[in-house]
């Protein structure tokens, strides 16, 4: 990992919130837990801290009247910036702009930012861990709260946490994870591998580890700490979706919290009438739904994040058990990422005017055996027969090839048309038998597409 490894002496903590609902949550949960002994009190001991809060005018009054807020001010200066808001109106888009403004405002002071969302509950010690990782030279620290149902979780959390005389609430990471899994939000449950449902935006998937844990692999984590290397924030869509790409040049300096013992937090949410946003889905549909989201939306940082398994647990789990589940999670996420690449290639084929080759590939992906078969981590070369070549075979033959009775044949044929590694036109020519490349070296990220004048048959490969 590159980067400056000098201790970070100064942090600015930033929170953006407005509306009674979020003020209530911030005061009763977020503020109470960051005032736990291992968080702000410990951090304020040997670092210079400041806190900036963006909030509405009425909300400021409620914040300042809170004893916990007054307690916070004993540890660090708090600067409240009053913003013009309407309750819950475009909250994500508006919030991200204020987080960005805070980072731009501290640019000259060289104070990195701890981004503290108002509906998160932090385990005791999490903020000190952030400081350690910052000292180690990381430019961004990524994690995401496991979502829980607010109305069920909050009373149980108040019972389970240790109350300080100052109103703070302290909870250890595993105790927090146990509560989180007890009161898991339907969103998290639906994106779990064994669920019969899936949400329409599956930006992460979980694999259960029986006995008290899950492995998560997903695209979107929130930066909880950012020391920007650049300030190119023009196209940022969301905290977990573009902010790190805009701020960090070297993604090696991004730290992903891969164990809940490291940094644990949960995110409180409503159970949601949006229940109908969950649809019944088998595993193929889960893979394709996630791949489709990634195809349309994922940033380079999101794609990197998806390769990092995250362990969340409340029990001590045997390492061999973790590894068994992680083998499955890596393979499944591999299928998601490969399917995303196929979407890229399908799009490229379409732009080249092809219809039949992409139709066959799309059919195999959606309804044939392809999703379970393809887990290709690296570059790939795809040979797509031109429409005329496939038309010559006749529609009946093409349908016959795709039918489930010919699974072995079609997979063999596919293997001839999709070769691991990057083959240029010159390199590929020797592998094609009688076929010729009509148009080549077309690129979809690290996959290469060559359009050929006839389908490849086994004899052609045998000759090479």
């Amino acid at each position: 990992m590159a980067g400056n490894k000098l201790p970070v002496e100064q942090f600015e903590i930033v929170t953006v919130l407005w509306g009674a609902r979020f003020v209530d949550r911030f005061l009763s949960m977020t503020l109470a837990t960051i005032l736990a002994p291992g968080n702000i009190p410990a951090l304020a001991n040997d670092r210079r801290l400041s806190y900036r809060i963006f909030t509405g005018e009425n909300d400021e009054r409620r914040l300042r009247a809170s004893p916990l807020f007054q307690r916070l001010e004993q540890f660090l200066p708090v600067n409240i910036s009053v913003i013009s808001t309407r309750p819950d109106d475009g909250k994500y888009r508006s919030a991200i702009q204020h987080y960005i403004q805070a980072m731009q405002d501290t640019r000259l002071a060289l104070a990195p930012t701890i981004l503290l969302q108002p509906d998160a509950i932090w385990a005791d010690g999490a903020l000190m861990r952030i400081a350690e990782l910052a000292d180690a030279g990381y430019a961004a620290i990524m994690t995401d709260g496991l979502r829980v149902i607010a109305e069920h979780f909050m009373p149980a959390f108040e019972d389970a946490s240790l109350k300080g005389a100052d109103g703070s609430l302290s909870i250890r990471p595993r105790a927090l994870m146990e509560l989180a899994m007890d009161f898991i939000h339907p969103y998290e449950a639906s994106v779990t591998w064994n669920s019969k449902f899936i949400h329409d935006v599956p930006f992460r998937l979980h694999w259960p580890v029986p006995g008290g844990g899950i492995v998560t692999q997903g695209f979107c984590y929130n930066p909880i700490y950012l020391a920007p290397e650049k300030y190119d924030f023009g196209s940022v869509k969301a905290m977990d979706h573009g902010l790190v790409d805009a701020a960090i040049t070297n993604l090696d300096r991004v730290y992903y919290c891969q164990d809940s013992d490291d940094v644990a937090l949960v995110s409180i949410d409503e159970e949601g009438y949006s229940g109908a946003n969950y649809k019944r889905a088998d595993r193929r549909q889960k893979i394709l739904t996630a791949a489709s989201w990634a195809y349309r939306e994922a940033t380079p940082e999101n794609l990197l994040a998806a390769t990092k398994p995250v362990r969340r647990h409340f029990a001590e789990i045997d390492e061999a058990k973790w590894r068994r589940v992680e083998r499955v999670s890596r393979a499944s996420m591999g299928a998601v990422l490969t399917s995303r690449k196929i979407f890229l290639v399908l799009s490229l084929m379409k732009r080249q005017g092809l219809t039949l080759a992409p139709a066959m590939l799309a059919y195999l992906l959606y309804q044939g055996p392809l999703t379970g078969w393809l887990r290709i981590p690296g570059p790939m070369t795809v040979f797509a027969p031109a429409d005329a070549a496939l038309e010559a075979l006749g529609r009946a033959r093409l349908n016959d090839l795709l039918s489930s009775e010919n699974k072995a044949e079609v997979l063999d044929m596919l293997a001839m048309h999709m070769r691991p590694g990057h083959l240029t036109v010159d390199q590929a020519a020797g592998h094609l038998g009688a076929a010729k490349i009509i148009k080549g070296d077309l690129e979809a990220e690290d996959w290469t597409l060559h359009i050929i004048d006839q389908p490849l048959v086994a004899s052609a490969l045998e000759r090479t």
Binding site: A20, A189, T192, E270, Y278
Partner: protein, 377 residues
Amino acid sequence: MTDNQAASDDLLHSVIVEFGGGNQDAAIEQIWCMHRENRHDGGIAHALALMLAQTGKPGDAITVLRRAVAAEFLNPDYYADLANLYLGADDQGRALDCIQTSLALNPVDPKLQKMAALISLDDRRSENGDWPAELYPGGQLEDFDADGRAITGLLGEGDYYQVIAEGRRILSHRPGDVRAHYCLSVALQSYNHVGQVIGHLTAVSKWMPAFAGASKGLGDFLHQAWRLKSIRGDFANAVLDRRSENADILDLSEAAGRYRSALHHQPEDARTRLYYGNLLNDMGNAVGAIEQYHLAARLEPGWISAQFNLARAMMNAGELDHALERVNQVIGMEPEFREAIGLKAKLLALKGDLVGAGMTHQAAIEFAPKFSTEVYF
């Protein structure tokens, strides 16, 4: 009041005057036109229904007055008038429900009290045990009207936080206040507190049995609660070694009963038909579901969700050609409906056109999912 509303009210007034002046046919014709243009205007529907009733068309009057009730479901007068029409049609069951609903909204109206007495509401009271005297027992009616105006005003402004505070205040001294329960259910819905919404809607449905929207809403929430709980139950089974509260899956029959109750009072509500169909699907009653989707699609032919659900149900029933025809209509109405395109691809594959299915799948890869609470998956 907007200029358009003021003009509409003036026109309505002049039509009523014309009707009273004896020019009944012309007045009814004019108000029918107004109603067709503004089907969700309760005032127009109410006036039209009364005119139809007075001119010997009680069936049409009931249909139109149901629309008025659906549009202004907290208006006790509409329920009272509907009760009269039901009585005239010898439909005492619905009449009693309407009177009970109207009394919950206006418990001191002597006209309603008289009607209740006339049609043996006392029998109903004995069946339900505690209706209606126990809904607002002695002394609870102080500030009844002012409270109602306050909370419905806050709801109209969309200030849900204040609605919740005001609703809880009202319920603290008048626990049965149906308007407070209703407003709280809406406000808490914005907070997605499923359990609390179900609680308030249950109270509304109990005391306002003719309020179809409450029964339908309760059916929706009970169904969704079942889905959410079953999703969480799968997680608990896989991750937690101990028994979870999620293991107790809710019974869907209560939700079904709520939908049937809503349809009893609003049989022409396409949305209730569709959601009831979705529930029947989850209950394994595919035949019942397809019937409800048919009715919903017939009631609102331009409603994409109804057409989509119907097409999907037809596919599951093996009616591939009809399903394909229907899904093509859906795609014609909304070309970027990803799920509809996916459905078409499946249909093509089932019909043996696998290449066509692949082409269809490929056409959808650029589109985002279009999930909605209406579409059944």
